[in-house]
Amino acid sequence: MQDVVNQVINTTFGWNWPSWAIALIGYLIVAVILFAIAPFQMLFLTLYERRAIARMQDRVGPNRVGPEGIFQPLADGVKIFTKEDIVPDAADHWVHFIAPCVVVAPTMFMFVVLPWGPGMVPVDLNIGLLFFFAISSVSAVGLLMAGWASSNKFALIGAMRAVAQMVSYEIPAVISLLALVLITGSLSIVDMISYQGGLFISSRDVASVPDWGLGWFIFTPVGFLAFVAFFIAALAEGERTPFDIPEADSEIVAGYMTEYSGMKFGLFYLAQYVLNFLLCAITSVIFFGGWQGPGVGWLYAQAITPVNPQGGWVFNVLAGVLGVVYFLSKTYFFFFVMVWIRGAFARLRIDQLMDFGWKFLIPLTLVNVISAAVWVALTKWGAADGLAFVEGWSPLVRWAVAFVVTLAMNLGAYLYLARIFAHSQAERERLDDEVLESLINVV
């Protein structure tokens, strides 16, 4: 973006502005675009979710406002804007007022490192992935503020649940990504995408594989397990249905949002849907190659890039459009999966949630990290790193051996942990029964 701004201002108009002004203008334009995109994503996703869940429940869904109901979110927006803003008398007014902003701001920040297409990333931070999750953890503060400031017991319980859940499930999410960070050797999201060229096998692992943009991490055992664990953790972070304990409407009204109305409530809603979009987006970026797909790599190779300044700008546009189409279709597919899961499963209890997170998901992801280390050792290391026996194997053989070994490790770990988990749950129920028996015998 900055080179374009520079081109326009300093070359076309010849104003000779300083570089910091150019940088500022470039970042401002990008920020404005992102801030415009985020609410529209939210508007679209609300309609998308309602239509999809309606179909799953043998209904039609909102289809009256505009063709197929596409203006329904606008009608909802108008409604929520014109609603009265009610603040409880007992509330802590300032904290009550700031809390929605503290919840929304991090979700907007997270767009900073999200790549939309080839060369289309607002800022390519070399610690992008860590930034993404560090910022997302800030919204927990906002939730706690909202729950506490409302001086409502439901709100406080909801906030406590939300924070406990977010803090617990951040760990498996980050550890599952850690496995992939080990493989790519980089925390940059752009690097992670460019690693996923190839055809079912990443061309970074095996150089001879043609680059069709299909060397996604999901096709490796490590990536698959990380994907499953990450997606479950993402459901919990986004407060999606099997884990929508913080706002369980049948138990605690609306959780931390109970005392909010009007556009403040709308901001929580916005934050939630934008966060869901971002979690789906990051899932598609890290495990499904983001904008990677057949044709994008070839188109981008013809485009104007720092590597290839003689390219045609048409290819920039084509590669960008195709990349964004791939990226968004994957993202929306994952949102569909979220809705699908919402349609299928019931809400967990808080202790079940904690048990599942700490006793099943975290051990599984830890095993996955070890698998990732084995994968890296088998595909990348040589005699210099103390792994002499792989010398002389062809890359494909090394990849195949790594695949089989990590598959065996992960499958074994899954089955073993699942058995232990099921056993512990059964034991727990038995103990519950025993408690019941003892209670009965006392009386």
Binding site: A52, R55, M56, Q57, D58, R59, V60, N63, W340, I341, G343, A344, F345, L415, A418, R419, F421, A422
Partner: protein, 339 residues
Amino acid sequence: MDIPRGNIIVMDRRRGKLRVGQGLIQGLKVVWDHWAGSFHKNENFSQIHGTFTVEYPDERLPLPQTYRNMPVLLYDDESGHELCTGCYQCQRICPPQVIHITQAKDPVTGKMVPAATEFIIEYDACMSCGFCAEVCPFDSIKMDHVYELSTADRVSLTMRKAQLNRPISYYASIAPDLWAEVQAGAMKKLQGSIKRRPDVIGLAAVLTEKIKARRLELAAAAAAAPAAAAPAPAAPAAPAAKLTPEEKAAKLAAMKATNANKGVAAPPAKAPVELSPADAKAAKLAAIKAANAAKQAGAAAPPAEVPAELPPTDAKAAKLAAIKAANAAKKAAEQGNSE
């Protein structure tokens, strides 16, 4: 859509031994089947995949005959006579007490007559239980099928008699079988009521051309009956028959009554004795009819057209005038009798 009753639909629950995580996958499969199947519309309720939605404002389901929403009052298409006799059964049974009836009174004697001058149902509080229709001995009150009753304010849901009146043909069209069951009895009772009190049975406010014609016919018949015996009242009756609009009926009746009064008072005791009661009765009937007409015409009745010695400015005054005229006629008849 046909609803199979008594059929047991066996659903495939896919029971069996489940390995870890398998149950979750099966749950997802069920939801997926519903999603994938939701793009076609179901024909009957035995299908479990697919939508049942009827997109209401665009398409509507046919309502069953026994569907009930809000009560309405029926009147006879031909004569315009309401079936309601104001018996208060519905008002008594109504659980939310939203039915209010004003019984009609004979303007001459002041006694109750089997008709309702006003009949109010508060639709806003009505709970559509249908007790009123069940209890009505004259099959006058029936449950309507109209359900789009939204209004901007509460008051416009307070329905008066004029808004409640529906012709029998309307009810027969929405619930033909139900009407066929009760038709004979209802019509018989109506005829009986008409016969007993030909003119006091309330006339439906929703007047059709047919009803107007029928009213004129009745007026002409009433005028013609005394005309054969007593020429004095017949003379003013003839020009009155040409005045078609109903508000002129008030003037007609009042004039007739006055004329009858004059006719009997000025040429005393010329008429035969057995003829006098008939004459008096006709005059009285005309007066009552005038009262009814004046009521229905409301303020529209032009005061200027009422005789000069009785200058009323509103419907009440017109009624008063009619009653006065009737009293005069009665007095005249008594004079005739005494002689």
